[in-house]
């Protein structure tokens, strides 16, 4: 059962967004409070990843209506790096390969950029390495990947672990996981989920975007939202995920939105 502190961490109201002139999100409303974990489920093409991308500031999407407040501040006017500085993190569905940029070099650059923006002292190479080693152990990452180029030649599972490593080091307040489970076998899924769960806390929130209920056995959500056709078609408690597992997504188109129903 979730607590609802005064101000939600994330308030999405009437959000519409388009890509290349085509509207993908047709008006999304979603509130996420501190300490909560919400899942966003839905079939392919329902707009889940677009929602995640809009929240992180991906420039290929254009917001045409609505608002997003993060910690009471207008999120949509902020550059991606400013969003990150304020504690927002997007775990990518397809983490990008960057040849020539060392994995830990990148991560130290990111951490120190965040620390600078918050007026904190930068970590030197030794302190950072100690921290990174500890977090790599936590997410079960092969130490050999530390000094390889960022994601270059990583397997699907290694890339996802690397996302979780970044999350563990950068310690975001709001993490959006975009299909972090795609392409993972059960062991990798468990490791990734453990890493994510280690980050849960009363001051943090998670928005877990996934196609499958399976992930939610490991990362237990407080609320589940189901997207279809660029809208939230249903919202409910964790049991909604199980319902979807049984019935599939086909019934969504037939029923009217249940977004306004009472919380469990």
């Amino acid at each position: 059962m979730s607590r609802r502190p005064g101000t939600p961490m994330l308030e999405i109201k009437g959000l519409k967004a388009e890509v290349a002139g085509r509207e993908i999100l047709h008006g999304i409303d979603l509130d996420l409070g501190a300490g909560e974990v919400h899942a966003v489920m839905g079939p392919n093409g329902s707009g889940k990843s677009t929602l995640a991308g809009v929240l992180a500031g991906r420039e290929t999407y254009r917001v045409t209506a609505g608002s997003v407040a993060y910690l009471g501040e207008d999120l949509l006017t902020l550059a991606p790096e400013k969003r990150a500085a304020k504690g927002l993190f997007l775990a990518f569905q397809y983490p990008v390969e960057i040849p020539g940029v060392g994995n830990l070099y990148f991560l130290r650059t990111a951490l120190n950029a965040l620390r600078r923006s918050r007026g904190e002292e930068e970590l030197d190479a030794m302190d950072f390495l100690t921290l990174a080693r500890e977090k790599m152990k936590l997410v079960g990452m092969d130490p050999a990947l530390a000094h390889r180029s960022l994601n270059e030649g990583f397997s699907g599972g290694e890339k996802k672990r690397n996302e979780v490593l970044q999350m563990a080091v950068l310690e975001p307040r709001l993490a959006i996981l975009d299909e972090i489970d795609s392409g993972l076998d059960i062991d990798a899924l468990r490791a990734v989920a453990d890493g994510v769960n280690a980050l849960r806390g009363p001051d943090r929130a998670l928005l877990v975007v996934t196609h499958y209920q399976r992930l939610l056995d490991y990362i237990r959500p407080d609320r589940v939202h189901v997207m279809a056709g660029g809208r939230i078609a249903a919202s409910g408690g964790p049991e909604l995920a199980h319902e979807l597992e049984k019935k599939g997504y086909g019934w969504l188109q037939a029923e009217p939105p249940r977004a306004a129903e009472a919380r469990p």
Binding site: G57, E81, A84, I98, P99, A110, Q166
Partner: protein, 431 residues
């Protein structure tokens, strides 16, 4: 005649002081004759199609003056080093300590006086290029440069630095000439660096002879004045099983052309010809590489990368010639460019001429911009856009920098390249 041609013609008429050995006089005379016949190339010339010499042609470039006292204090690499300044060896700044037994280094002019016999069979005879205006000018007008000999079997671990400094109060030109001789099975590293102040032309020719089984790493770092013209030519003749690893880093000058001509004349000789150029403003940075596979089972690897900002232009022309009978040749060529602005231009031109049938030759390359998805990924982690751009630009360049062998030279190249990259000052030291 253009003003530049006029000035060169006058200098050619004056010639160089007498007393030189007959073969040098003959080389100079042939150079004079060639230059006056071909003059400076225009863009009608096949090798100069993408690179205009109009700005150079319009200048009357006099002879460089002796460097004034208290002029530019260049930061110098550690010894052993030879420093050449405005035409002559700079004795005060040259320091040859640390040369191992069997390695001789010094001024080419001095060696021509003292033991011309060691030079006569090599100078101007290793590779050559017919009717080459700048080569001809160098033949006719060079005064000094390095003469380096690595005796058979010597192993010179420390890099030997050749530093060429130009200071020009008035527009001026000079023509350094160096000869590097690497004996059988000998190994070494040579680093040429170029820098200066003012409006000048430095027109350098370096000839390299590699005996059987010899191995040389040869880096060339060009950081001339932003207003300068840089013409460089490296000619390499390789005997059997020798290895030459050359890298040209072109950062400075308004207009720079570096030509690398490699003759693989002995079986199983191999060369790596690498280049990195970083252009901004209206810079033109041009490389022409000619690899002549004259013998069987030789290998050549060319990798060139350019980063072009502003309205700069990068040119790469790579010619691979496989002679009849040069079977089992293995030649590859890759040229990639990163364009940081809409006005930057990259021209890349592979030319393969293959006259043997059992060979492996490939070429490829890309011209592109920084990846939007990569930029977004970095920014989404809190890295400011300018730093994200610098990181990605450096990532593109670093592959070439990491290929520089000796650590101290690599550090120096890294600093020099980073200093030229937009946002390079934002990059932190690698862990």
């Amino acid at each position: 005649m253009t003003p530049a041609e006029q000035a060169f013609a006058e200098q050619l008429a004056d010639g160089r002081p007498g007393g030189e050995p007959a073969f040098v006089r003959a080389l100079r005379e042939a150079g004079r004759e060639t230059f006056l016949r071909v003059m400076l190339p225009t863009q009608k010339h096949e090798d100069w199609r993408f690179t205009s010499l109009a700005a150079l042609s319009a200048r009357r470039l006099g002879e460089v003056a002796p460097p004034p006292a208290g002029a530019l204090q260049p930061e110098l690499p550690p010894p052993p080093r030879l420093v050449f300044w405005n035409g002559h060896v700079d004795v005060r700044r040259t320091d040859l300590s640390g040369l191992p037994q069997g390695v001789r280094a010094g001024s080419l002019a001095a060696a021509l006086r003292e033991r011309p016999g060691a030079i006569e069979p090599l100078l101007g005879r290793l590779v050559g290029a017919r009717d080459h205006a700048f080569g001809a000018l160098n033949d006719a007008l060079f005064r000094d440069g390095a003469f380096l000999e690595l005796g058979d079997g010597t192993d010179c671990e420390r890099p030997i630095h050749l530093v060429f400094v130009t200071t020009a109060a008035e527009p001026a030109a000079w023509h350094p000439r160096s000869l590097l001789v690497v004996g059988q099975g000998a190994r070494g590293t040579v680093v040429e660096s170029y820098r200066g102040q003012g409006l000048y032309l430095v027109n350098a020719v370096t000839e390299v002879a590699l005996a059987e089984g010899a191995s040389l790493e040869h880096d060339r770092i060009q950081e001339d004045d932003p207003g300068a013209f840089h013409m460089g030519r490296v000619e390499v003749a390789q005997s059997a099983a020798s290895r030459w690893k050359g890298q040209s880093v072109a950062l400075g000058a308004a207009l720079a052309r570096v030509e690398v001509r490699v003759l693989l004349r002995g079986e199983e000789a191999a060369c790596d010809v690498h280049g990195l150029y970083v252009g901004a403003g209206r810079q033109v940075l041009d490389h022409l590489v000619h690899v002549d596979h004259a013998s069987p089972r030789c290998a050549s690897r060319e990798i060139f990368k350019g980063i072009l900002d502003g309205a700069s232009r990068g040119v790469f022309a790579g010619r691979v010639h496989v002679r009849p009978g040069a079977q089992k040749t293995d030649a590859s060529q890759v040229s990639s460019n990163l364009l940081l602005s809409d006005d930057a231009v990259a021209d890349s031109r592979p030319q393969l001429e293959i006259l043997a049938d059992d060979v492996k030759c490939s070429h490829g390359g890309t011209v592109g911009q920084l990846g939007e998805e990569q930029l977004f990924y970095l920014r989404s982690r809190g890295i400011p856009e300018a730093l994200a751009r610098a990181l990605l630009t450096w990532a593109f360049a670093s592959e070439m920098v990491e290929r520089v062998g000796p650590a101290e030279v690599r550090r120096r190249v890294r600093d020099a390249v980073r200093a030229r990259l937009p946002g390079g000052e934002l990059l932190m030291e690698a862990a």
